[in-house]
Symmetry: C2
């Protein structure tokens, strides 16, 4: 019974839609009071972006006094120009971690997003390694976007005038039947985004089977690309340390070796602003990328790469380092789930993910209320990612998805922030159900 | 008389063209002998690229244990995401040095060449801040290229399908009458390259008067751009420390505030591979650049920026640091000039620059012999920049220009390398004059 719940324990624990109009009105009144109390607290909390916390960044402060030498293993002075592909010792560490040959990996600057932009620009201006002409010469270019997904992926497409078509992101990856249908007939569909492991924001992990279908499905466009943004490959939240599908080998076996372009970075391993980003692909893809990259670069910051190689020492060094991250952030995810479960469990107006890795929880609220929840939260001093941001053009057709990013705030802040969110979710839901 | 000169002092010191055929044949025979002796030495020397030497890089090794803090002056954690324009304290130091307001400067990653590429890509794909459409939508885009110039500038144009038209680079900058004539009538001419101070490779310095004309000349293209690559702004070789023209103020006064886009970097101040690059322009240009940059970046490596800001402390810190560079490299330039003067002075088959700053000496040899000189030098173990590389499409119409870069080799290597070059210059000249 809803009347059992005080404002400090506001979850009705039974579907709101099963309640009578009068009972819903009661819940609404109680949530309104709870919300007023919330506003009076004058919170200033932020769950907007997937940023590492200060405590996480501190884990990498050994970098600040590295490197201890200025020559890489080959004897090259990392302070000088050159070495476009990045230093071998760091590529080897990530080759091990990503299951990709080191010579198929490029170690670049501090941003994998910049590498993605460069790849898209090269595709638009120059065409793919297996393409016939620049994409910009096509009448139309379209990307398949699993949703909810990563806002910056969609922004890049919109910036380049690339159209989007969405497919649902399921637990085992994108709805591969839907993808296969789309790409089979329409040659304007030139590629798709994918965060294969612990996806942003759903936490989905692309299975071996789904990966196999994606790299082998017939595509009307001969130069179809999968931009495989493996940003969270190593970012496990549980001891079930999922291994990403070996997309490059699968693609080669399927006869489509140039289809995937793989991205990764240490932005959420060492420093979000001063890490090292990686690109990988078929030998031809790597040569294609470096050929264009070399027009505007004489080499990456190899000093920072050597700094990272020394800091980690080996792939196991990275694994041990990631365990430290997990120690810090897993309790925050657990707290998000605890508050959501206690306050929204059984209400029928919210469902959410319990990711085994990555940086996000994807919260679905009563359809039509996500933007209202975000607005209410903002007024109560809790910043959430803008409504719809996990969809192309920021358009969530059902207005129900909210991306929660609990890593940045201290654990002590996650609790009040999430309590506030649940109050807003219930208030928005009862507003809608009562027509208030 | 040529017969006065032994192979170890092979300069005829009088115009080869004034000699009789028999005398030229004598010189040729002697240079052939000198060249054979040279090859027998098995040299392995390199004057190809404008790279700082190890001794120069060592000057900045204070960077290796910086920064001492991880927060910038504003309190932002430089290890985390954000801060697209770069940290204020470093922008202020370079604002002072470049004579540009700090809020009109963007501090970026480690490469100004990458910033130039990004600007050109943005112009092609999105159009200028004062333009009507993307440059890629024009039938033709052409750039004015002062020659000899910087090979990587020309490569970028060729990569983007931008045509080139050359004008001579004079001592006080590009032939501004020629530039003004070209741009006045042809709306396809959308921009020009310029290294305004101690130009690559001529050492030319654009005067205030030339700068004024360039920013005020009428252009048929309303969105004409001057890509003002001030790579050597602070790289003085003498106590006459030339001050670059204040191109942004001049352009604003002339009513063309968006015409110049300024680039600079610390690649040849601190580390060539791990410095900080800068872009500057009108407030609208900066907003335009950041707007596009932000599509593919969440912020630059601010940690490296803070590292640099701490290392320098102030603009005067940079100036003192540049004096140390001068101490190391000025003797190398003096040695280049000494050998050239002693061995080629008065021969009439070579002229060269005596730069007051920058990284290069531009050597003009007997027309039609530059590629032969470079070929001869290569066979003798002295690497020179490929023939024609200071011209668009690597085409030096007179086959006479050779770019010498004496900074990287130790001083002790500059002497034999330059002696070898002079032998090759004389041999190629006498080959040509004798029809050998």
């Amino acid at each position: 019974m809803v009347s059992d719940h005080s404002p400090s324990d506001p979850s009705p624990q039974q579907p709101l839609t099963d309640l009578s109009a009068a009972e819903v009105a009661q819940v609404h009144a109680r949530q309104t009071a709870a919300y007023d109390a919330l506003r009076a607290q004058g919170l200033g909390l932020d769950l907007t972006r997937g940023k590492p916390s200060t405590e996480q960044l501190d884990l990498s402060d050994g970098l600040l006094s590295l490197p201890s030498t200025t020559r890489d293993r080959s004897g090259a002075d990392v302070r000088n120009y050159g070495g476009l592909q990045g230093i071998a010792e760091l590529r080897e560490i990530f080759a091990d971690l990503l299951g990709i040959d080191a010579d198929r990996i490029v170690a670049g600057g501090s941003s994998s997003l910049t590498m993605m932009r460069d790849v898209l620009v090269d595709l638009m201006l120059k065409g793919a390694v297996d393409g016939e002409r620049p994409w910009a010469a096509e009448e139309k270019v379209t990307f398949v976007c699993p949703v909810p997904g990563y806002d910056r992926h969609f922004t890049l497409l919109s910036w380049l005038g690339i159209d989007t078509v969405t497919v649902p992101m399921l637990e085992d990856g994108p709805d591969v039947d839907a993808v296969a249908r789309l790409v089979a007939d329409d040659p304007s569909i030139k590629g798709m985004w994918l965060v294969p492991t612990y996806a942003n924001p759903t936490g989905s992990v692309v299975t071996q089977e789904v990966a196999e279908r994606l790299v082998s499905m017939p595509t009307a466009a001969p130069d179809f690309k999968i931009l495989w943004d493996n940003a969270y490959a190593l970012h496990h939240l549980t001891s079930a340390e999922t291994k990403s599908a070996d997309v490059l080998s699968l693609a080669a076996v399927a006869g489509n070796p140039h289809r995937p372009v793989v991205f990764a970075s240490t932005s959420k391993i060492t420093y979000a602003g001063a890490g090292v980003a990686f690109l990988a692909g078929s030998p031809e893809t790597v040569a294609w990328y470096l050929g264009h990259l070399g027009k505007g670069s004489i080499g990456p910051d190899k000093l920072n790469q050597l700094r990272h190689a020394e800091f980690f020492g080996s792939a196991d060094g990275v694994r041990a380092h990631m365990a430290e991250h997990r120690r810090i952030i897993a309790p925050k995810f657990a707290e998000v789930d605890r508050v959501l479960t206690e306050r929204l469990g059984g209400t029928g107006v919210a469902s959410w993910t319990r990711p085994e890795g990555g940086y996000f929880v994807s919260l679905d609220v009563l359809p039509g209320t996500a933007s209202r929840v975000i607005e209410l939260a903002a007024r109560a001093g809790v910043a959430l990612t803008p409504a719809g941001s996990a969809f192309p053009d920021s358009h969530d057709p059902d207005d129900q998805n909210i991306r929660l990013a609990p890593t940045f705030p201290p654990l002590a802040d996650v609790t009040p922030a999430m309590e506030a969110v649940t109050t807003c979710v219930l208030l928005a839901a009862t507003e809608k159900l009562t027509g208030a």
